[in-house]
């Protein structure tokens, strides 16, 4: 809903109008939150090791720049799960089940990778689609529970994170082609099913990131420009009104959850089908009864990107960037968990940065601006997620 509120005087590049849009205030709010989160991280570093805090912090901030390929590589799956969470958010659905959908997608992609013999060039494409279908399946279930039975999707998603993970682990372990018991992880995928690399030295970054960005742009267009996006957001804001307007609310819930699941499933496929820097090797999966963390990272990505697909491109890249920096900070003795804390703090602040922002703006305006101007109303934005 950010951008179809084109300002009435729409011609030309109007900076003032842009700074008044919700998109802009979401952006500045995210920025404010990031700054606060980083300051917090710096303080923790100073506590942990004052001598090296500066060096460590420099790594966190700039370290990722030197590893841009890796930044994009690790951004790929969380961008997809971020889109999965954010897209459902637009319809007022909290898809905490991206994790299970991701795992399912990963399994479906792997299955095609191991069990189907397809020509190079086609194999990985089919596997990617299989991943999408796996994720869609696992998104469909909470969708149908919500639409047909009115079961809260948060609970269903949580439950199906576990159920999906147990299924996948069981399926993997009982398949001799896929699973190498002696390593407690999956076999190497054939190279025909690995996504072509982008060829950046020392990094696994591959076409997955390009697909992820294209997907985000498509979603942006769907949300902003199409009747489906219009219906989706209307349902998110007011499901009664969308019923009244004859929109098929239940169908839209199921479709949205399937799309969200498909996105997360693609994330899983992109992750497992990534090429390996080592010849003959590939990505592997360990069926150790653990819920995929990338699903939960997707929530952070979506929140920081305020559920806007374009915002999510940036938030995923940013989060990956400081994660890479955090790994580098490891070199000067800082535990990489510091980054996870920093990210959490950023999300925490971003939850009310919009309000801090407008309070700040109000303060500045009442102190220095002229009286009586209408302030951008931030209240409605904070309600958006639910």
């Amino acid at each position: 809903m950010q951008d179809n509120n084109k300002s009435p005087q729409k011609k030309g590049f109007d900076l003032k109008a842009i700074t008044k849009t919700k998109g802009f205030s979401a952006f500045t709010a995210a920025l404010l939150a990031i700054v606060l989160g980083l300051i917090f991280g710096f303080i923790v570093m100073i506590f942990a090791n004052p001598d090296r805090a500066m060096a460590g912090f420099r790594y966190v901030i700039f370290g990722g720049l030197g590893r841009f390929g890796d930044v994009l590589y690790f951004a790929t799956p969380i961008m997809m799960t971020g889109l999965a969470v954010g897209f459902a958010f637009k319809m007022g659905l909290f898809n905490i089940g991206a994790s299970g959908q991701y795992t399912m997608g990963m399994f479906f992609a792997m299955y095609v990778g191991f069990m189907w013999d397809l020509p190079t060039g086609l194999h990985w494409v089919v596997a990617i689609f299989a991943g999408m279908i796996g994720g869609m399946l696992w998104g469909f279930i909470p969708g149908i529970f919500k639409a047909a039975l009115n079961v809260n999707e948060v609970i269903t998603s949580i439950m199906f994170n576990y159920i999906g993970m147990y299924f996948v682990d069981m399926w993997v372990q009982s398949n001799a082609t896929m699973y190498i018991a002696s390593k407690s992880c999956t076999n190497y995928l054939p190279s025909s099913v690995q996504i072509p690399s982008l060829g950046i030295a020392g990094s696994n970054v591959n076409f997955g990131i390009i697909f992820a960005i294209i997907t985000a742009i498509i979603l942006f267009i769907v949300l902003q420009k199409t009747t489906f996006g219009y219906e989706l957001k209307a349902t998110g804001y007011n499901k009664y009104a969308s019923d009244y307007a004859g929109m098929k609310g239940k169908r839209n819930i199921v479709v949205t959850m399937m799309i969200a699941g498909g996105l997360a499933g693609l994330g899983g496929a992109f992750a497992i089908l990534a090429p390996s820097a080592i010849a003959g090797s590939s990505m592997t999966y360990e069926p150790i009864n653990i819920i995929a963390a990338n699903g939960f990272n997707g929530i952070a990505v979506a929140l920081l990107g305020s559920s806007n697909p374009l915002g999510i491109i940036f938030s995923a890249t940013f989060i990956s960037h400081i994660q890479r920096g955090g790994t580098l900070a490891n070199l000067v003795g800082f535990k990489p968990e510091i980054i996870d804390v920093v990210i959490a703090v950023i999300i925490y602040f971003s939850a009310f940065a919009m309000i801090m922002n407008s309070t700040l703006a109000k303060f500045i305006k009442t102190r220095f601006g002229k009286k009586g101007t209408v302030l951008p109303n931030a209240n409605s934005e904070t309600k958006e997620a639910k």
Partner: protein, 321 residues
Amino acid sequence: MDTVFYLIQNMLPVAVPLLLVALGGMFSERSGVINIALEGIMLFGAFFGALFVYSIQSSGINPQVILLLGMVVAAVAGFVYSLLLSFASVTMKADQTITGTSLNMMIPAAVLLFSKMFFNSDGITTNVGFFIRKIPVLGDIPVLGQLFFQKTYLTVIIGFILLIITVIIFYKTKFGLRLRACGEHPQAADSVGINVYFMRYAGVSLSGILGGIGGFFYSVGILDGNISGHTGVAGFGFLALAVMIFGQWKPMKILFAALFFAFLRTLAYSIALIPFLNDLGINQTYYKMLPYVATMVVLAFTSKKSRAPKAEGIPYDKAKR
């Protein structure tokens, strides 16, 4: 018969953390604040409880006293941590789900960071034996004594006491009435002079206290007093959320839901004791899924009529109508 006793004795230490944390969630949500952060609050409470136990374990104090003190520490920790949620979602009117999610993300990382920095470990390992073989006198009561007062943890008894206190506070006091009003219709509460912000702080704080205690009880009853940032509380905070919804935001139904869930979870790993199930030779993975699947089935049947507190999730703004 032995098997039944065994299952119940085993189930209770699992059920109690679920029960307490779900009750905490109930306080928070009935005051109008969705508390997704229960998982984080549990881990925070468990961590400080375990840290306390660790620091006092060589003092020779009676383990049950240590447990009680640890419980207080965990309660305080949970309370303090929950203030982050109430500050953001009540004072700053932030989105409650987002805030809760960020709090869940923060804690495992912070625990790992802290433990690695100070213990070079993922968490804290303690060595106090909290297990009670038999409580004198009470343990001799036929059947009941065997079920509840033998081979147990003090956590079970405290859990039930806290449940009773909760029911009384919730339904019999003016505090409870006001709290429930804030979750349903905060404007109405405001119009009769109730401080909605305060009540919501109170609701979230109670969930912090119960969540912290629940986390510590998880650590005591299941992890032998240990805790790790890596495995955390194994999703019990989320399960408690499910238990709360399953229990329709009402204390006695929550008790039932917690017992149901814990029973299935225990059963899944005790199949070998139950000959007819064992003979079926079903892949154990299916039993592992059982609690989750069963919860879904139950929710599918009950959710049509279940009713969340009306105002939950909506930040209260005095100036807005």
